[in-house]
């Protein structure tokens, strides 16, 4: 849930999604679900000469399992909060394991 929770805060921000087939797409994150499927608006590929077939695509739905990286704008990540959230997640996982 941590990643889902985290990605939700990125909604309406511009991100770059790097897929496992090396396609790189930049766009505005519209929504994300628990599988980390991603919906992008105003999507463009970072290198149109490499993936010309994606030029026409403006809105995209990307299956979460094909995403390798998501490049974030650093300014919108609250690291302290993320640390706390991570601690909570770890603690919850530990409590569950018991």
């Amino acid at each position: 849930m941590l990643f889902f929770s985290f990605f939700k805060t990125l909604v309406e921000h511009e991100i770059t999604v790097e897929l496992k087939n090396e396609v790189c797409i930049r766009g505005t994150l519209k929504s994300v679900d628990q599988y980390l499927n991603i919906k992008l608006d105003n999507a463009t590929t970072t290198d149109e000469s490499r993936w010309p077939h994606l030029i026409a695509c403006k809105d995209m739905f990307i299956r979460g399992s094909v995403v390798r990286y998501v490049h974030l704008p650093p300014g919108i990540v609250d690291t302290n909060l993320l640390e706390d959230a991570t601690r909570r997640e770890a603690e919850a996982a530990k409590a569950k394991a018991k």
Binding site: L2, F6, T9, D78, N80, R88
Partner: protein, 844 residues
């Protein structure tokens, strides 16, 4: 009792005619019969009538007379009844009627119910005149059925007077008539009444009624069930509206007429559907209640009687046809019988419609369809009407509202907690940054307050780094400035002297070599201390683990804080107080745990190879970040302990001992970040505490710095210098703001200050971390200003001597800088210059 019996035993018409004026006076007839048997001679002259035939009888052959005729005189009792079928029938008439009523009841149970209340009315209003004790105990319905019988019995009581002078015609009419005769007469009556109601009618009424009743009674036995009902239903009307009798008559006549002439009269029809038509008929009777109008109306209605007849078909279960034909007269039909009547309409349609003209049929069908639709709709809607009382409904509504409240309440309680556990980052982030609300399960206000307070509050976390740092710096700057202002305001007269002595200061340049020696000493002392600080891997892991433990405790504390029960007062119920107590004790426990977690009470071992655990925690970034959060949960005494611990180990802090920069070897980027982080996270809480602490605390802290730390190291680091600035400026402020300050304390402070000044003086030229072009020297100027404010004139001179070169250089450099940067740098310099009563302008 039976007419037939009477006829059979009294063949002579005359005797009856003389004694029985009215048909209802059957007892007279019996009396006559009895009289004939007992004293015949009184009534008739035997001799006159005797024809002598008796003389010719053979008396001897009378032996079997008794066998033939019976021994006694011919009395009703004596005469054999074997042949008296009607009499026999009349005996079981009760049973037959019961059976018929029973049949009716079984056939149409719903229809039976409405008439009963109606029939009960006649019991009070309609039967007074007929009252006979033997009928009182009987059921009302049966009394109605038998209504005709009492009439016969009561007739003598009521009618002898009016009837006696009656014309011969009614008497003659009273004679036994065949069914055909009766019908014919009735028809003629109807015509008469219709066309010439006249005053004769009331006259005719009693006899008429009897005749009708007689004629009416006979077909009863054969079994025309619907005809009983009209009798029941019309009684009240008869009584209630004397004028409506005419109508009654018609109605009573109609059934018979109807047999031969269907559609002859409108009013007849209701009698076949008593229950439902009761209401319409009563309506109908109203216009007729004025006898004057009755005939006219009837005449007027005649043309329309044909369709209406159809509409009022006896088979019909409802009076719906009437409104159609008579809408003009009556207006719309009241709705209360719509439901039950609906099926009946459908059944009877086809045959009724056959008699309709085309337009009428269309109109009717249309109307009927509309009505049926409406009725159906209303029936559907009102299907369950009246099942619940208003109280029931209120009760249900209350329960539903309660459940709703409970549900939403739980949703909020559990929802936020669950959402927090599952979705911590998003929830808190949304709160802090105002991200668009995407879920209704927003964190509770308390949660938001906790976190907002934590992040933006007094010990603002370094999350908003730029702003937090700025805030802290601004406040420190303000404090220094205030100190400077205060100092400037007071020793104005002195300053003039000092101002004049500026030249003198330059004379004492000869003292400058001395600090160089001090610096060398400081450096040599510095090196060996930093070596052991290189902590082993085990130490490092231990420190990190401690930090994590502290964080977990902190989060528990914060979670627990969010679960703060509502504040209690004297009126709170014990359970609430109990909860509050539990909450408090848990806070205490967590607080204790936290205090132990930060290891601050570990004994200080100055000669230990590894640093104090608390200080080790501060060497890590997240350890530094924990400080403001820890400060929130500990009390002032504990905060002072933390500050003391930090001050004592000031030169052991990595950010101090490793952050000694010089123009030749500037700080590494990592160390810069460390220092920045420390000044953003740890310094604000320290500053907050010191800026509120009394002079004794400040004196104590400065004493600790002097006693326990290598001041040369401390004074050359940004953190140490800032801390010293805070302490000195606080002391200066206290001096200015509280004139009646404790002399002892003040002497103590002066002593401390002199000691501090002496220690710092040698490193004055080395205070600046970078070259003149390095702009990040504000804290140095602040420190110098703070020192300058409290300094004696002689100390101020030494101060100026120490940094004179830097001042001149900065002023020179700022001349070639862009105006904004130049003014910023000059402002920094001026901060110090004004502290000692000078101004940069003087140098320009």
């Amino acid at each position: 009792m039976s007419f037939f019996g009477f006829d059979a035993t009294l063949p002579k018409d005359g005797g009856h005619a003389a004694n029985a004026p009215g048909f209802g006076q059957t007892p007279d007839a019996f009396a006559g019969l009895g009289g004939g048997a007992l004293d015949d001679g009184d009534a008739i002259d035997f001799e006159e009538t005797y024809d002598g035939l008796g003389d010719r009888l053979d008396e001897t052959d009378d032996a079997f007379n008794d066998d033939t005729f019976g021994s006694g005189p011919a009395t009703q009792q004596a005469v054999g009844r074997d042949f008296d079928f009607a009499g026999q029938t009349s005996k079981i008439a009760d049973t037959m009627h019961e059976e018929q009523m029973l049949y009716q009841a079984r056939q149409a149970p719903p229809k039976r119910q409405p008439p009963i209340p109606q029939a009960s009315k006649p019991a009070r209003t309609g039967y007074e005149s007929y009252h006979n004790p033997e009928y009182i105990p009987q059921l009302e319905a049966r009394a109605d059925i038998w209504g005709l019988k009492p009439k016969q019995n009561d007739a003598p009581l009521r009618q002898p007077e009016p009837v006696a002078p009656a014309p011969a015609a009614p008497v003659a009419a009273r004679k036994m008539m065949s069914l055909d005769e009766v019908e014919a007469m009735m028809r003629s009556h109807t015509m008469q009444e219709s066309f010439a109601p006249g005053p004769a009618q009331p006259f005719q009424l009693p006899a008429m009624q009897q005749q009708q009743e007689l004629a009416y009674n006979q077909p009863q036995y054969p079994g025309t069930p619907p005809q009983y009902a009209p009798q029941i239903l019309q009684r009240p009307q008869q009584q209630a509206h004397p004028g409506a009798r005419q109508t009654q008559q018609h109605q009573q006549q109609q059934p018979q007429v109807h047999v031969e002439l269907p559609g002859h009269s409108v009013q007849a029809q209701p009698s076949h559907a008593p229950t439902i038509l009761q209401r319409p008929r009563s309506n109908q009777s109203d216009p007729h209640s004025q006898p004057r109008q009755a005939a006219q109306q009837q005449a007027n209605q005649r043309p329309s009687s044909q369709p209406r007849q159809i509409l009022q078909n006896p088979n019909r279960l409802s009076g719906h046809g009437q409104p159609i034909a008579q809408q003009g007269q009556r207006g719309p039909l009241p709705g209360h019988n719509r439901g039950p009547s609906f099926p009946g309409m459908v059944i009877t349609h086809p045959e009724q419609l056959l008699h309709l003209s085309e337009e009428e049929r269309v109109a009717f069908l249309e109307e009927d369809a509309k009505r049926a639709k409406r009725n159906h709709k209303i029936a559907m809607l009102s299907k369950d009407n009246g099942l619940m009382t208003p109280q029931d409904k209120n009760f249900i509504t209350r329960i539903q509202l309660q459940q709703l409240m409970a549900a939403t309440g739980n949703l909020e309680d559990q929802g936020s907690e669950a959402a927090l556990a599952e979705d911590f980052y998003f929830q808190v982030f949304s709160q802090i940054r105002g991200a668009p609300r995407q879920t209704p399960h927003q964190p509770a206000n308390q949660f938001a307050q906790t976190y907002l307070f934590q992040n933006n509050g007094r010990f603002g976390q370094g999350r908003r780094q730029g702003r937090g740092g700025d805030n802290h710096m601004q406040r420190m700057e303000q404090q220094v400035q205030r100190a400077v202002e205060a100092a400037k305001a007071k020793p104005k007269s002195k300053q003039l002297v000092i101002e004049g002595s500026l030249g003198k200061i330059s004379f004492s340049n000869s003292k400058t070599p001395r600090p160089l020696l001090n610096i060398k000493r400081g450096d040599t002392g510095d090196k060996p201390q930093t070596k052991p600080h290189k902590s082993s891997i085990a130490d490092r892991k231990e420190a990190l683990r401690n930090i994590e433990k502290v964080y977990i405790i902190l989060m528990h504390l914060e979670d627990h804080e969010r679960a703060l029960p509502p504040p209690i007062n004297e009126n709170s119920d014990p359970e609430e107080i109990q909860r509050h107590m539990e909450w408090r004790s848990k806070v205490e426990a967590l607080h204790k745990k936290l205090w132990e977690g930060i290891k601050i009470m570990e004994p200080i071992n100055p000669h230990a190879s590894s640093p104090h655990p608390f200080i080790a925690m501060l060497s890590h970034g997240k350890g530094k970040k924990a400080i403001p959060r820890i400060f929130r949960h500990i009390d002032d005494q504990e905060r002072l302990t933390v500050v003391t611990m930090i001050v004592v180990h000031l030169d052991n802090l990595a950010v101090v001992s490793h952050a000694l920069a010089s123009p030749d070897e500037p700080m590494s980027a990592a160390m810069r970040e460390e220092v920045a982080l420390f000044s953003q996270t740890v310094m604000p809480p320290l500053f907050g505490l010191i800026s509120e602490s009394p002079l004794s605390n400040v004196v104590g802290l400065v004493g600790l710095v002097l006693a326990r730390t290598n001041l040369h190291v401390v004074a050359r680091s940004q953190i140490g210098m800032s801390l010293l600035t805070i302490l000195i400026s606080r002391a200066e402020l206290l001096k200015e703001s509280t004139p009646d300050i404790n002399i002892v304390d003040w002497e103590h402070w002066t002593e401390q200050y002199n000691q501090l000044f002496n220690s710092v003086e040698p490193v004055l030229p080395l205070l600046f971390p970078g070259s003149v072009n390095d702009t990040d020297d504000m804290y140095v100027w602040q420190f110098l200003a703070a020192m300058g404010v409290g300094a004696s004139p002689e100390q101020q001179q030494r101060l100026v001597i120490g940094v004179k070169d830097r001042v001149m250089e900065t002023v020179t450099v700022s001349k070639v800088l862009p105006p904004e940067m130049a003014s910023a740098r000059l402002a920094n310099v001026n901060l110090f210059m004004r502290a000692i009563g000078l101004d940069v302008e003087l140098l320009g």
